[in-house]
Symmetry: C2
Subunit: 193 residues, 2 copies
Protein backbone atom coordinates (compact mmCIF):
# COMPACT_ATOMS: atom_id res chain seq x y z
CA UNK A 1 0.00 0.00 0.00
CA UNK A 2 2.65 2.54 0.97
CA UNK A 3 6.06 3.33 -0.35
CA UNK A 4 7.57 0.49 1.63
CA UNK A 5 6.41 -1.98 -1.00
CA UNK A 6 9.35 -1.14 -3.21
CA UNK A 7 11.98 -2.22 -0.77
CA UNK A 8 11.33 -5.76 -1.86
CA UNK A 9 10.83 -5.24 -5.57
CA UNK A 10 14.05 -3.34 -6.02
CA UNK A 11 16.68 -5.71 -4.70
CA UNK A 12 19.98 -5.92 -6.40
CA UNK A 13 21.05 -7.29 -9.73
CA UNK A 14 21.46 -10.88 -8.68
CA UNK A 15 18.00 -10.92 -7.17
CA UNK A 16 16.29 -10.05 -10.42
CA UNK A 17 17.38 -13.34 -11.88
CA UNK A 18 15.80 -15.14 -8.96
CA UNK A 19 12.69 -13.05 -9.40
CA UNK A 20 12.40 -14.15 -12.99
CA UNK A 21 12.86 -17.77 -12.02
CA UNK A 22 10.13 -17.52 -9.43
CA UNK A 23 7.77 -15.86 -11.88
CA UNK A 24 8.42 -18.58 -14.43
CA UNK A 25 7.71 -21.20 -11.80
CA UNK A 26 4.50 -19.40 -10.93
CA UNK A 27 3.35 -19.45 -14.53
CA UNK A 28 4.17 -23.13 -14.73
CA UNK A 29 1.92 -23.71 -11.74
CA UNK A 30 -0.91 -21.61 -13.14
CA UNK A 31 -0.52 -23.53 -16.35
CA UNK A 32 -0.67 -26.92 -14.69
CA UNK A 33 -3.04 -26.41 -11.78
CA UNK A 34 -4.65 -23.04 -12.29
CA UNK A 35 -4.33 -19.86 -10.29
CA UNK A 36 -5.80 -21.61 -7.28
CA UNK A 37 -2.76 -23.87 -7.20
CA UNK A 38 -0.38 -20.97 -6.67
CA UNK A 39 1.02 -20.98 -3.16
CA UNK A 40 4.38 -19.96 -1.88
CA UNK A 41 5.10 -23.60 -1.27
CA UNK A 42 4.14 -24.98 -4.67
CA UNK A 43 5.94 -22.17 -6.43
CA UNK A 44 9.07 -22.70 -4.36
CA UNK A 45 9.05 -26.42 -5.02
CA UNK A 46 8.59 -25.79 -8.74
CA UNK A 47 11.49 -23.37 -8.72
CA UNK A 48 13.65 -25.66 -6.61
CA UNK A 49 14.06 -23.16 -3.81
CA UNK A 50 12.86 -22.88 -0.26
CA UNK A 51 9.48 -21.49 0.62
CA UNK A 52 10.87 -18.60 2.56
CA UNK A 53 12.91 -17.51 -0.41
CA UNK A 54 9.72 -17.07 -2.36
CA UNK A 55 8.32 -14.85 0.35
CA UNK A 56 11.60 -12.99 0.45
CA UNK A 57 11.13 -11.79 -3.10
CA UNK A 58 7.35 -11.57 -3.02
CA UNK A 59 6.25 -10.70 0.45
CA UNK A 60 2.63 -11.56 -0.26
CA UNK A 61 0.95 -13.91 -2.67
CA UNK A 62 -0.72 -10.98 -4.35
CA UNK A 63 2.65 -9.49 -5.20
CA UNK A 64 3.55 -12.75 -6.85
CA UNK A 65 0.34 -12.96 -8.87
CA UNK A 66 0.65 -9.37 -10.00
CA UNK A 67 4.18 -10.03 -11.17
CA UNK A 68 3.14 -13.20 -12.99
CA UNK A 69 0.25 -11.55 -14.79
CA UNK A 70 2.46 -8.64 -15.73
CA UNK A 71 4.93 -11.06 -17.24
CA UNK A 72 2.31 -12.74 -19.40
CA UNK A 73 0.88 -9.41 -20.44
CA UNK A 74 4.33 -8.23 -21.43
CA UNK A 75 4.74 -11.21 -23.71
CA UNK A 76 1.50 -10.47 -25.51
CA UNK A 77 2.28 -6.79 -25.69
CA UNK A 78 5.54 -7.54 -27.41
CA UNK A 79 3.90 -9.89 -29.88
CA UNK A 80 1.17 -7.47 -30.82
CA UNK A 81 3.58 -4.62 -31.17
CA UNK A 82 5.59 -6.71 -33.57
CA UNK A 83 2.44 -7.24 -35.59
CA UNK A 84 1.56 -3.56 -35.54
CA UNK A 85 5.03 -2.42 -36.51
CA UNK A 86 5.54 -5.26 -38.95
CA UNK A 87 4.92 -5.09 -42.66
CA UNK A 88 2.38 -7.87 -43.21
CA UNK A 89 -1.35 -8.31 -42.88
CA UNK A 90 -2.09 -7.10 -39.37
CA UNK A 91 -5.42 -8.86 -39.11
CA UNK A 92 -3.81 -12.09 -40.15
CA UNK A 93 -1.09 -11.62 -37.57
CA UNK A 94 -3.70 -11.15 -34.87
CA UNK A 95 -5.58 -14.19 -36.13
CA UNK A 96 -2.43 -16.26 -35.89
CA UNK A 97 -1.83 -15.05 -32.37
CA UNK A 98 -5.36 -16.01 -31.39
CA UNK A 99 -5.19 -19.34 -33.14
CA UNK A 100 -2.09 -20.18 -31.16
CA UNK A 101 -4.32 -20.50 -28.12
CA UNK A 102 -5.42 -23.86 -29.43
CA UNK A 103 -1.96 -25.28 -29.78
CA UNK A 104 1.29 -24.57 -28.03
CA UNK A 105 0.05 -21.29 -26.61
CA UNK A 106 -2.96 -22.82 -24.95
CA UNK A 107 -1.49 -23.07 -21.51
CA UNK A 108 -0.18 -19.54 -21.60
CA UNK A 109 -3.46 -18.18 -22.87
CA UNK A 110 -5.29 -20.09 -20.20
CA UNK A 111 -2.99 -18.65 -17.57
CA UNK A 112 -3.66 -15.19 -18.91
CA UNK A 113 -7.40 -15.68 -18.79
CA UNK A 114 -7.25 -17.12 -15.33
CA UNK A 115 -5.24 -14.22 -14.04
CA UNK A 116 -7.44 -11.74 -15.84
CA UNK A 117 -10.49 -13.14 -14.15
CA UNK A 118 -8.66 -12.79 -10.89
CA UNK A 119 -8.18 -9.16 -11.81
CA UNK A 120 -11.88 -8.50 -11.45
CA UNK A 121 -11.41 -8.97 -7.70
CA UNK A 122 -7.98 -7.55 -7.08
CA UNK A 123 -7.60 -3.92 -8.02
CA UNK A 124 -3.85 -4.29 -8.26
CA UNK A 125 -4.26 -6.67 -11.18
CA UNK A 126 -6.81 -4.63 -13.11
CA UNK A 127 -4.54 -2.22 -14.99
CA UNK A 128 -2.31 -5.07 -16.06
CA UNK A 129 -5.24 -7.15 -17.24
CA UNK A 130 -6.45 -4.28 -19.38
CA UNK A 131 -3.30 -4.16 -21.44
CA UNK A 132 -4.19 -7.02 -23.79
CA UNK A 133 -7.40 -5.29 -24.80
CA UNK A 134 -5.68 -1.97 -25.22
CA UNK A 135 -3.09 -3.55 -27.46
CA UNK A 136 -5.71 -5.12 -29.67
CA UNK A 137 -7.51 -1.80 -29.79
CA UNK A 138 -4.32 -0.12 -30.88
CA UNK A 139 -3.90 -2.63 -33.65
CA UNK A 140 -7.48 -2.06 -34.70
CA UNK A 141 -6.90 1.69 -34.72
CA UNK A 142 -4.39 1.25 -37.54
CA UNK A 143 -7.14 -0.28 -39.66
CA UNK A 144 -10.10 1.97 -39.03
CA UNK A 145 -11.19 5.20 -37.40
CA UNK A 146 -14.62 3.95 -36.38
CA UNK A 147 -14.57 3.49 -32.60
CA UNK A 148 -17.35 0.95 -32.78
CA UNK A 149 -15.39 -1.10 -35.27
CA UNK A 150 -12.49 -1.04 -32.88
CA UNK A 151 -14.66 -2.15 -29.99
CA UNK A 152 -16.12 -4.87 -32.17
CA UNK A 153 -12.72 -6.20 -33.09
CA UNK A 154 -11.58 -6.24 -29.48
CA UNK A 155 -14.74 -8.07 -28.45
CA UNK A 156 -14.39 -10.55 -31.29
CA UNK A 157 -10.77 -11.25 -30.42
CA UNK A 158 -11.60 -11.86 -26.83
CA UNK A 159 -14.62 -13.98 -27.61
CA UNK A 160 -12.67 -16.10 -30.06
CA UNK A 161 -10.02 -16.76 -27.46
CA UNK A 162 -12.70 -17.86 -25.04
CA UNK A 163 -14.30 -20.08 -27.65
CA UNK A 164 -11.00 -21.77 -28.30
CA UNK A 165 -10.04 -22.15 -24.67
CA UNK A 166 -13.34 -23.15 -23.13
CA UNK A 167 -15.23 -24.57 -26.06
CA UNK A 168 -12.33 -26.12 -27.96
CA UNK A 169 -13.59 -24.27 -30.99
CA UNK A 170 -11.74 -24.68 -34.31
CA UNK A 171 -8.70 -22.46 -34.44
CA UNK A 172 -7.91 -22.26 -38.13
CA UNK A 173 -6.11 -19.01 -38.81
CA UNK A 174 -8.12 -18.18 -41.92
CA UNK A 175 -11.33 -18.89 -40.11
CA UNK A 176 -10.36 -16.65 -37.22
CA UNK A 177 -9.28 -13.95 -39.61
CA UNK A 178 -12.61 -14.01 -41.44
CA UNK A 179 -14.51 -13.51 -38.21
CA UNK A 180 -12.20 -10.69 -37.17
CA UNK A 181 -12.66 -9.06 -40.55
CA UNK A 182 -16.38 -9.33 -40.17
CA UNK A 183 -16.19 -7.32 -36.96
CA UNK A 184 -14.06 -4.51 -38.22
CA UNK A 185 -15.37 -4.13 -41.76
CA UNK A 186 -19.11 -3.95 -41.82
CA UNK A 187 -21.10 -2.09 -44.41
CA UNK A 188 -23.26 0.66 -43.12
CA UNK A 189 -26.24 -0.86 -44.89
CA UNK A 190 -25.73 -4.08 -43.01
CA UNK A 191 -25.41 -2.37 -39.68
CA UNK A 192 -28.70 -0.55 -40.05
CA UNK A 193 -30.78 -3.70 -39.91
Amino acid sequence: MDGESEHIDGRKARGNKRRAEIIDATLAIVTRDGAAGVTHRTVAKQAGITTSLSTYYFATLDDLLVAALSSVADTYTTRIRQIIDGPGDKLRGLAELIAESAGPGRERALAERELSTLAARRPALAPVARRWRENVAELAATLTDDPEAIAALVAASDGLCTAILIDNAPADTDYVRRILTRAIHAHRDAVVS
Copy 2:
Protein backbone atom coordinates in the same frame (compact mmCIF):
# COMPACT_ATOMS: atom_id res chain seq x y z
CA MET B 1 -18.09 -41.39 -11.00
CA ASP B 2 -20.38 -44.34 -10.29
CA GLY B 3 -24.03 -44.61 -9.55
CA GLU B 4 -23.46 -43.93 -5.90
CA SER B 5 -23.16 -40.22 -6.54
CA GLU B 6 -26.91 -39.86 -6.76
CA HIS B 7 -27.61 -41.02 -3.25
CA ILE B 8 -26.88 -37.50 -2.11
CA ASP B 9 -28.43 -35.51 -4.90
CA GLY B 10 -31.79 -37.16 -4.68
CA ARG B 11 -32.85 -36.60 -1.10
CA LYS B 12 -36.40 -35.88 -0.30
CA ALA B 13 -38.56 -32.85 -0.88
CA ARG B 14 -37.57 -30.93 2.20
CA GLY B 15 -33.92 -31.36 1.39
CA ASN B 16 -34.24 -29.69 -1.98
CA LYS B 17 -35.16 -26.46 -0.27
CA ARG B 18 -31.97 -26.66 1.75
CA ARG B 19 -30.04 -27.44 -1.39
CA ALA B 20 -31.37 -24.29 -3.00
CA GLU B 21 -30.47 -22.25 0.07
CA ILE B 22 -26.94 -23.59 0.02
CA ILE B 23 -26.56 -22.88 -3.68
CA ASP B 24 -27.78 -19.33 -3.15
CA ALA B 25 -25.30 -18.90 -0.35
CA THR B 26 -22.56 -20.23 -2.61
CA LEU B 27 -23.41 -17.70 -5.30
CA ALA B 28 -23.38 -14.96 -2.71
CA ILE B 29 -19.87 -16.00 -1.75
CA VAL B 30 -18.69 -16.17 -5.34
CA THR B 31 -20.22 -12.75 -5.82
CA ARG B 32 -18.52 -11.23 -2.83
CA ASP B 33 -15.18 -13.03 -2.64
CA GLY B 34 -14.82 -14.93 -5.88
CA ALA B 35 -14.75 -18.64 -6.53
CA ALA B 36 -11.62 -18.96 -4.44
CA GLY B 37 -13.63 -17.91 -1.40
CA VAL B 38 -15.98 -20.84 -1.67
CA THR B 39 -15.37 -23.31 1.13
CA HIS B 40 -17.78 -25.51 2.98
CA ARG B 41 -17.28 -23.31 5.97
CA THR B 42 -17.86 -19.93 4.34
CA VAL B 43 -20.89 -21.25 2.50
CA ALA B 44 -22.35 -22.71 5.66
CA LYS B 45 -21.84 -19.51 7.59
CA GLN B 46 -23.46 -17.53 4.77
CA ALA B 47 -26.42 -19.90 4.78
CA GLY B 48 -26.64 -19.89 8.57
CA ILE B 49 -26.12 -23.60 8.90
CA THR B 50 -23.37 -25.84 10.18
CA THR B 51 -20.43 -26.85 8.06
CA SER B 52 -21.26 -30.52 8.15
CA LEU B 53 -24.71 -29.84 6.79
CA SER B 54 -23.15 -28.33 3.71
CA THR B 55 -21.13 -31.48 3.19
CA TYR B 56 -24.24 -33.51 3.82
CA TYR B 57 -25.89 -32.08 0.74
CA PHE B 58 -22.73 -31.65 -1.31
CA ALA B 59 -20.26 -34.33 -0.40
CA THR B 60 -17.40 -32.59 -2.13
CA LEU B 61 -16.66 -28.99 -2.93
CA ASP B 62 -16.75 -29.79 -6.62
CA ASP B 63 -20.31 -30.99 -6.34
CA LEU B 64 -21.18 -27.66 -4.81
CA LEU B 65 -19.45 -25.64 -7.50
CA VAL B 66 -21.07 -27.66 -10.25
CA ALA B 67 -24.47 -27.08 -8.71
CA ALA B 68 -23.81 -23.36 -8.35
CA LEU B 69 -22.64 -22.94 -11.91
CA SER B 70 -25.60 -24.96 -13.13
CA SER B 71 -27.90 -22.67 -11.26
CA VAL B 72 -26.45 -19.55 -12.87
CA ALA B 73 -26.46 -21.20 -16.28
CA ASP B 74 -30.09 -22.16 -15.83
CA THR B 75 -30.99 -18.56 -15.17
CA TYR B 76 -29.33 -17.40 -18.36
CA THR B 77 -30.80 -20.26 -20.35
CA THR B 78 -34.26 -19.28 -19.25
CA ARG B 79 -33.70 -15.64 -20.11
CA ILE B 80 -32.35 -16.39 -23.55
CA ARG B 81 -35.10 -18.82 -24.30
CA GLN B 82 -37.61 -16.14 -23.44
CA ILE B 83 -35.90 -13.88 -25.92
CA ILE B 84 -35.85 -16.55 -28.61
CA ASP B 85 -39.48 -17.50 -28.11
CA GLY B 86 -40.59 -13.93 -27.57
CA PRO B 87 -42.00 -11.63 -30.21
CA GLY B 88 -39.61 -8.70 -30.11
CA ASP B 89 -36.25 -7.82 -31.55
CA LYS B 90 -34.05 -10.75 -30.58
CA LEU B 91 -30.79 -8.92 -31.02
CA ARG B 92 -32.04 -6.13 -28.83
CA GLY B 93 -33.09 -8.63 -26.20
CA LEU B 94 -29.62 -10.11 -26.23
CA ALA B 95 -28.09 -6.67 -26.06
CA GLU B 96 -30.20 -5.85 -23.02
CA LEU B 97 -29.13 -9.06 -21.36
CA ILE B 98 -25.50 -8.25 -21.98
CA ALA B 99 -25.86 -4.65 -20.90
CA GLU B 100 -27.28 -5.84 -17.60
CA SER B 101 -23.80 -7.03 -16.73
CA ALA B 102 -22.88 -3.45 -16.03
CA GLY B 103 -25.66 -2.82 -13.57
CA PRO B 104 -27.60 -5.08 -11.25
CA GLY B 105 -26.51 -8.21 -13.07
CA ARG B 106 -22.84 -7.46 -12.68
CA GLU B 107 -22.23 -9.70 -9.70
CA ARG B 108 -24.08 -12.58 -11.22
CA ALA B 109 -22.28 -12.23 -14.53
CA LEU B 110 -18.99 -12.05 -12.72
CA ALA B 111 -19.85 -15.21 -10.83
CA GLU B 112 -20.69 -16.91 -14.09
CA ARG B 113 -17.43 -15.88 -15.66
CA GLU B 114 -15.46 -16.94 -12.64
CA LEU B 115 -17.05 -20.37 -12.60
CA SER B 116 -16.65 -20.71 -16.34
CA THR B 117 -12.96 -20.06 -16.07
CA LEU B 118 -12.85 -22.69 -13.38
CA ALA B 119 -14.45 -25.03 -15.88
CA ALA B 120 -11.30 -25.01 -17.97
CA ARG B 121 -9.66 -27.00 -15.16
CA ARG B 122 -12.48 -29.15 -13.86
CA PRO B 123 -14.02 -31.39 -16.49
CA ALA B 124 -17.18 -31.73 -14.46
CA LEU B 125 -17.89 -28.03 -14.97
CA ALA B 126 -17.15 -27.90 -18.68
CA PRO B 127 -20.50 -29.03 -20.14
CA VAL B 128 -22.35 -26.62 -17.90
CA ALA B 129 -20.08 -23.76 -18.87
CA ARG B 130 -20.74 -24.39 -22.53
CA ARG B 131 -24.46 -23.80 -22.22
CA TRP B 132 -24.33 -20.01 -22.36
CA ARG B 133 -22.52 -20.09 -25.67
CA GLU B 134 -24.84 -22.71 -27.07
CA ASN B 135 -27.83 -20.62 -26.12
CA VAL B 136 -26.48 -17.55 -27.83
CA ALA B 137 -25.67 -19.65 -30.88
CA GLU B 138 -29.23 -20.90 -30.91
CA LEU B 139 -30.50 -17.35 -30.83
CA ALA B 140 -28.17 -16.44 -33.65
CA ALA B 141 -29.40 -19.41 -35.67
CA THR B 142 -32.85 -17.83 -35.79
CA LEU B 143 -31.34 -14.81 -37.53
CA THR B 144 -28.98 -16.31 -40.04
CA ASP B 145 -27.87 -19.57 -41.60
CA ASP B 146 -24.24 -18.57 -41.98
CA PRO B 147 -22.26 -20.57 -39.41
CA GLU B 148 -19.52 -17.97 -39.37
CA ALA B 149 -22.02 -15.26 -38.61
CA ILE B 150 -23.24 -17.36 -35.72
CA ALA B 151 -19.73 -17.86 -34.43
CA ALA B 152 -19.07 -14.15 -34.80
CA LEU B 153 -22.14 -13.24 -32.78
CA VAL B 154 -21.24 -15.65 -30.01
CA ALA B 155 -17.70 -14.28 -29.90
CA ALA B 156 -18.96 -10.70 -29.89
CA SER B 157 -21.41 -11.42 -27.08
CA ASP B 158 -18.75 -13.02 -24.97
CA GLY B 159 -16.22 -10.33 -25.70
CA LEU B 160 -18.67 -7.58 -24.88
CA CYS B 161 -19.43 -9.19 -21.54
CA THR B 162 -15.74 -9.32 -20.79
CA ALA B 163 -15.30 -5.72 -21.81
CA ILE B 164 -18.06 -4.66 -19.48
CA LEU B 165 -16.91 -6.79 -16.56
CA ILE B 166 -13.16 -6.34 -16.74
CA ASP B 167 -12.84 -3.10 -18.60
CA ASN B 168 -15.89 -1.30 -17.28
CA ALA B 169 -16.78 -0.60 -20.89
CA PRO B 170 -19.92 1.41 -21.65
CA ALA B 171 -22.99 -0.79 -21.56
CA ASP B 172 -25.56 1.18 -23.48
CA THR B 173 -28.06 -1.23 -24.95
CA ASP B 174 -28.13 0.45 -28.36
CA TYR B 175 -24.37 0.50 -28.48
CA VAL B 176 -24.15 -3.18 -27.63
CA ARG B 177 -26.81 -3.99 -30.17
CA ARG B 178 -24.95 -2.15 -32.92
CA ILE B 179 -21.82 -4.15 -32.29
CA LEU B 180 -23.76 -7.40 -32.23
CA THR B 181 -25.43 -6.47 -35.48
CA ARG B 182 -22.08 -5.76 -37.00
CA ALA B 183 -20.99 -9.32 -36.21
CA ILE B 184 -23.98 -11.11 -37.59
CA HIS B 185 -24.76 -8.94 -40.60
CA ALA B 186 -21.69 -8.34 -42.65
CA HIS B 187 -21.70 -7.75 -46.34
CA ARG B 188 -19.80 -10.26 -48.35
CA ASP B 189 -17.91 -7.45 -50.04
CA ALA B 190 -16.73 -6.22 -46.70
CA VAL B 191 -15.62 -9.65 -45.59
CA VAL B 192 -13.41 -10.13 -48.61
CA SER B 193 -11.06 -7.36 -47.68
